[in-house]
């Protein structure tokens, strides 16, 4: 295999990895602040694609108006989910809130089947995102080229928000100690809400690009990406945003390379790759690549 083809696969892998990274951040942020695996995150991702579908196809609104609205709608959906399904259980045992998350996931999936129908729908692909760009020896779908750029822009914005703004500082403080954060005058509930909003907005951005890249949408489409991105977050070290990004890229590039370089008989194991990687990481580094050591609070 030539170097050019390797580069071709690498860019594809980075592109897929970017999508995984965007979704994985939502898992890791929510885990960081609530110590909760938000199992409904993949379904929020799915909802975003339907919002876009109805906006563009059914209501015929141009994509550049629909997409920002979809991001806002999805953020509100995530925040509503937190208020309805997780906030009442804030002081309940961890297992209760986890079961609530699984319930929320099933609820969204089945609601989608009832409201949107179980049949696949075609995601709208505006012309701007179709076509091919030639980068030296590598020829790429325009979208494959755009995805990592868009992702990096949002990542930089996110890291700025978290590390250099008052809201970000509040988020970091709440993630360590809810009670003391409250004593400092931080509105803990609002901060948690914002975290869900941001995580869901990033999932929406990922979902829109996912829909453009794989333009088939269906109610259970969030399950597999949701699981994989959860794995990406764990591999990177759950609770750590940079870790989630790293995990996303490892998973994306690894998956594409596996498909590219293994004999075609084995490409069916594509999805298994993520899970095998998860098992290996958990065996040798249970806290993930960039995860902190878990220390019990005294």
């Amino acid at each position: 295999m030539s170097f050019d083809i390797f580069l071709q696969h690498l860019t594809n892998g980075i592109s897929l990895g970017s999508l995984y990274a965007l979704i994985a951040i939502g898992y890791t942020m929510v885990y960081g602040i609530l110590r909760l695996i938000n199992f409904a995150h993949g379904d929020i991702f799915m909802m975003a694609t339907y919002f876009a579908f109805y906006g563009v196809i059914t209501f015929g609104v141009p994509w550049y108006i629909v997409f920002p609205i979809v991001i806002l709608l999805t953020a509100s959906l995530g925040m509503t989910l937190e208020v309805a399904a997780y906030r009442p259980l804030r002081n309940a045992p961890k297992i209760s809130i986890m079961i609530s998350a699984i319930g929320a996931s099933f609820l969204l999936e089945n609601l989608a089947i009832v409201i949107f129908g179980g049949v696949n729908k075609a995601f709208p692909t505006p012309e701007v995102f179709t076509g091919v760009v030639q980068l030296g020896p590598v020829s790429l779908q325009k979208l494959t080229f755009y995805i990592p750029i868009i992702t990096v822009i949002f990542l930089v914005a996110l890291l700025y928000l978290i590390n250099h703004t008052k809201t970000g500082m509040a988020m970091r403080a709440v993630s360590k100690d809810h009670e003391t954060a409250g004593v400092m005058g931080i509105d803990v509930n609002k901060t948690i809400s914002i975290t869900f909003g941001i995580g869901s907005a990033l999932a929406a951005i990922g979902a829109l690009m996912w829909g453009l890249k794989f333009p088939q949408i269906y109610p259970l489409m969030g399950v597999m990406p949701g699981l994989k991105c959860f794995i990406a977050a764990v591999i990177g070290g759950i609770g750590n945003i940079k870790g989630a990004v790293l995990g996303g890229f490892i998973l994306g590039v690894g998956e594409i390379m596996l498909v590219a370089f293994l004999p075609s008989d084995y490409t069916g194991y594509r999805d298994a790759f993520a899970f095998i990687l998860l098992i290996v990481v958990l065996l040798f580094r249970p806290t993930g690549i960039m995860g902190e050591k878990i220390s019990e609070k005294v």
């Binding site: 008052k166 500082m169 509040a170 970091r172 403080a173 993630s175 360590k176 100690d177 009670e179 003391t180 954060a181 409250g182 004593v183 400092m184 005058g185 931080i186 509105d187 803990v188 005294v298």
Partner: protein
């Protein structure tokens, strides 16, 4: 300034406070001393709204404090230095201090207060960019006090500021408490180190298993035979 009236707090049926009454007068240093489990921390937690009392009243400047949420206490001028310091280990020293001023928007005054905190604790200035988790216990305690000061409190409540610190550091912390008091901040100090606390206090309360057993000026309590035997060691003066 702050008045507690017949306060009862229970944790799952077990009464930690069995009806205590006390008063914090403006401009004074008040201390609450007593053994482990006497209910000192519970009293502070009830004032901050971190535990809901079964009955009783807490009024602050004439208004009912029990109706307020924890997050609004600091806006009312009540700041807490929590037990065990509880600095945010993943934030830098500077960020920890800034979070103390979270509810304030007067950038210029915040800057002044930051300078004041750095003046009180020069060690913190040296470590501005260090993560709070990497500080020593004494430095973390200084940071916890500095963080509380950043809200410009009128009432500063401290829960065991000397716990687990070397004697020299304890002395330093107590000197700082006096210094803060001189700036017009009312102080409610909880201590197991009764000797040190009573020496700087205007009024002291002694707590025993959920009740206040004695009240007096710092010097009266230091001279009290019961207090001497129970908390100071018989030979203490």
């Amino acid at each position: 300034m702050l008045k507690i009236d017949n306060l009862v707090v229970a944790y799952g049926g077990i009464e930690a406070l069995k009806g205590i009454s006390m008063e914090v007068e403006e401009g004074k240093i008040i201390t609450l001393v007593g053994a482990n489990g006497a209910g000192k921390s519970t009293t502070l937690r009830a004032i901050m709204g971190l535990v809901k009392p079964v009955s009783g009243a807490i009024t602050y400047k004439g208004s009912n404090l029990l109706a307020e949420k924890t997050q609004n206490m600091v806006r009312n001028g009540i700041a807490l230095v929590p037990e065990g310091r509880r600095v945010f280990p993943n934030l830098t020293v500077l960020e920890n201090l800034k979070i103390g001023a979270f509810c304030r928007n007067d950038e210029k005054n915040i800057k002044e207060d930051l300078e004041w905190v750095y003046h009180l604790f020069p060690r913190l200035k040296e470590r501005t960019w260090q993560l709070a988790g990497t500080l020593s216990g004494g430095e973390q305690q200084m940071l916890a006090v500095g963080r509380a000061l950043m809200s410009r409190p009128k009432l500063l409540m401290m829960d065991e500021p000397s716990l687990g610190l070397a004697p020299l550091v304890v002395k330093e912390i107590f000197n700082i408490i006096k210094e803060i008091h001189k700036q017009g901040v009312t102080i409610l100090l909880i201590e197991q180190n009764a000797n040190a606390a009573l020496h700087i206090a205007d009024i002291g309360y002694v707590m025993e298993t959920g009740r206040i057993s004695l009240k007096g000026t710092g010097h009266e309590l230091l001279a009290n035979q019961e207090v001497k035997e129970a908390y100071l060691g018989k030979k203490a003066k």
